[in-house]
Symmetry: C2
Subunit: 379 residues, 2 copies
């Protein structure tokens, strides 16, 4: 089992790399407000972010350690990290939820980076942001999305070890599905049983679980489960993001409940082969678009209008980059990716297939045990 947390050297290296890129861009600081960005640079790790009540901020200065501007309730935990400069207020305070502290901290700066592009959001009230901007008229704000996303996309050995660990846990949970996904079992009960299995196998949490089961195949992969019992002829899919020490796996498995239709068997074969094409194409120097193209070619015209065929994975269930025609990001050693082709078939049905890999010199390494090459049958 990997060690929880990271040595301080990991945070020093992340911060130094960010500051190098900030210097190239002439940024005197970078303001962070989301859970993953704050945790990446500080190690501050808590479920408390689930409450929308309190904003949390970190300023990455041009040199030196991150500066935390956080609610008082978080100070003891932040003190256990490598951060020294911790400024706090008794949140919640609707009149001044950290805004004065931010203004004071940022007022010496003239050029600030902020992640404000694709796949970002600012986790503070827009009215507070507007007030802060008005109080700092000389402060130029630059989009720093590529810095945070670019750094986080390349995982360290320690990060990869955590992701590999949770992928192995997820795989052991998936291997138990044939024991409880039996004819007559309600789908919401199958979801509960999967969550319990993943916890038993060592997951800290099972934040994400979607799936479907329907006769001949499923048509929707984002609905919550209902109590409909599994029936012979169903295709069952479960797609789970389990987490361990704040790092995710994200992969799925398909099963036939009783003998499947030929169409479902063929869809599974097509997806398995397309997944392999994606894995084989994942070499440093190839681009995300190359991986997309390799999978799309393998799927052939049957691929339909697919937006992307995989994505980055790590501290969040989905991260940059996207395996999509629009993403020309070159692959690099240390990128953890989901390989996730999908296929429409039959009368409005679809099938999805997903594995997790890490890009390295030479062929990519699978973090998930490869799904069975033929659609597995339960019962």
């Amino acid at each position: 089992m990997p060690t929880r947390g990271f040595p301080t050297a990991e945070y020093e290296a992340r911060t130094a790399r960010a500051q190098e890129r900030m210097a190239e861009r002439g940024l005197e600081g970078m303001l962070l407000s989301t859970e993953a960005d704050v945790r990446y640079f500080t190690g501050f790790h808590t479920a408390f972010w689930q409450s929308p009540t309190r904003p949390w901020f970190v300023l990455l200065p041009a040199a030196g350690k991150p500066v935390a501007v956080i609610p008082e309730i978080g100070v003891p935990l932040m003190r256990t990290t490598w951060v020294d400069d911790i400024r706090s207020w008794p949140a919640p305070d609707p009149d001044d939820d950290g805004v004065s502290l931010l203004i004071e901290l940022l007022s010496p700066l003239s050029r600030l980076g902020l992640p404000m592009g694709h796949e970002t959001h600012l986790r503070m009230p827009l009215a507070d942001w507007t007030r802060m901007r008005a109080a700092l008229p000389g402060l130029e704000i630059e989009d720093a999305t590529e810095i945070t996303q670019g750094l986080r996309a390349i995982k360290s050995e320690a990060e990869i070890a955590k992701i590999a660990h949770i992928c192995a846990i997820g795989a052991r949970a998936f291997s138990q599905v044939p024991e409880f996904a039996l004819t007559g079992a309600p789908l919401d009960g199958v979801f509960r049983a999967f969550r319990r299995a993943a916890l038993t196998e060592g997951a800290d949490e099972v934040p994400y679980l979607v799936g479907a089961a329907a006769q001949g195949g499923y048509a929707d992969v984002i609905s919550p489960p209902d109590a409909q019992p599994l029936a012979t002829g169903d295709i069952l899919m479960l797609d789970s993001g389990c987490s361990w020490d704040g790092y995710f796996c994200d992969f799925d498995r398909n099963w036939a409940i009783g003998p499947p239709t030929d169409a479902a068997r063929r869809a599974y074969d097509t997806l398995w082969t397309a997944t392999q094409a994606g894995i084989d194409a994942a070499r440093p120097g190839a681009t995300c678009r190359d991986l997309y193209d390799a999978m799309a070619r393998s799927l052939g015209t049957s691929g339909g209008n697919v937006g992307r065929l995989g994505h980055g994975l790590g501290m969040q269930l989905t991260e940059q980059p996207s395996l999509a025609a629009f993403d020309e990001t070159p692959l690099a050693a240390g990128m953890v990716l989901t390989i996730e082709p999908s296929l429409p078939y039959g009368d409005g049905l679809m099938m999805v297939h997903e594995e997790n890999i890490v890009v390295q010199d030479g062929p990519a390494a699978l973090l998930t045990p490869r799904a069975e090459p033929e659609l597995p049958v339960i019962g």
Copy 2:
């Protein structure tokens, strides 16, 4: 067990009430971008929001049903709701992630409401928001926080039934803690066992679980658990937000592992009494501040610098209002609240205590079975 989902009449009523308040404010529409706000008015319920990749929008027009502007992947699920007007794009598209669709939809309006105050955020890239604003120079944006938060704070009978159901599930899970929180059990294992118990008892998910265990008492209530084994003399606290059909409980329990110190016993007594004072004060017409004052008086000078002593509860773990000195919101029948006093004691220790209630005519109704009046001892 309550029924999953809501009849269309519930969404019609929510929308009509919002539109009434919008009319009073002269708002021609209200733009929503967060999971809970979108679900509240549409019934769109999916774990897919956990991926930060895609933005999702709903416009509440001055009259008629909500209009959805969402990624294509969500269309089949949105079609199962009462929403008719669904506009979609093949997200993710970094060049235009719904922005053109929003501009087209909003261009006829001159006055738009947006939740942008305390406890809100805008779930879309700030750069996209800025681009949209620039394309709609005639559009005035007004803070509509009080409309969404005000409506959501008063729960319907159907919502209260769901919260009562998950509170009962959480209580059954808490009642099993003495079976697995034994001397020598590592705290992270206790967390896993609690999550499994809650799932077994019928929770859909256990998104939130914090807690602590330490000799004589704990000092921090937001850290993740470590593998330190429980020892005689520890005070253990678990605080959990389990969910069922998208509604939360949020309460905690304390236990002594072996005989507790007198200081811990006294802290527990003080908190139990302060909790009772809060429950007793919760009558329609009293304000949130009155509840805060009742608990603060009961805690006496021992209360320390406490920011708030409870909050709203429902589709999110924490919602408006706040039981705090700054919150003059009058209590009204249908408000579901956590009563959550905390107490510093000893040498940097603290204790927390939390129950869930619903405000109604006459005395408030407990949704959680009242904690034992004396600190329960395990072993």
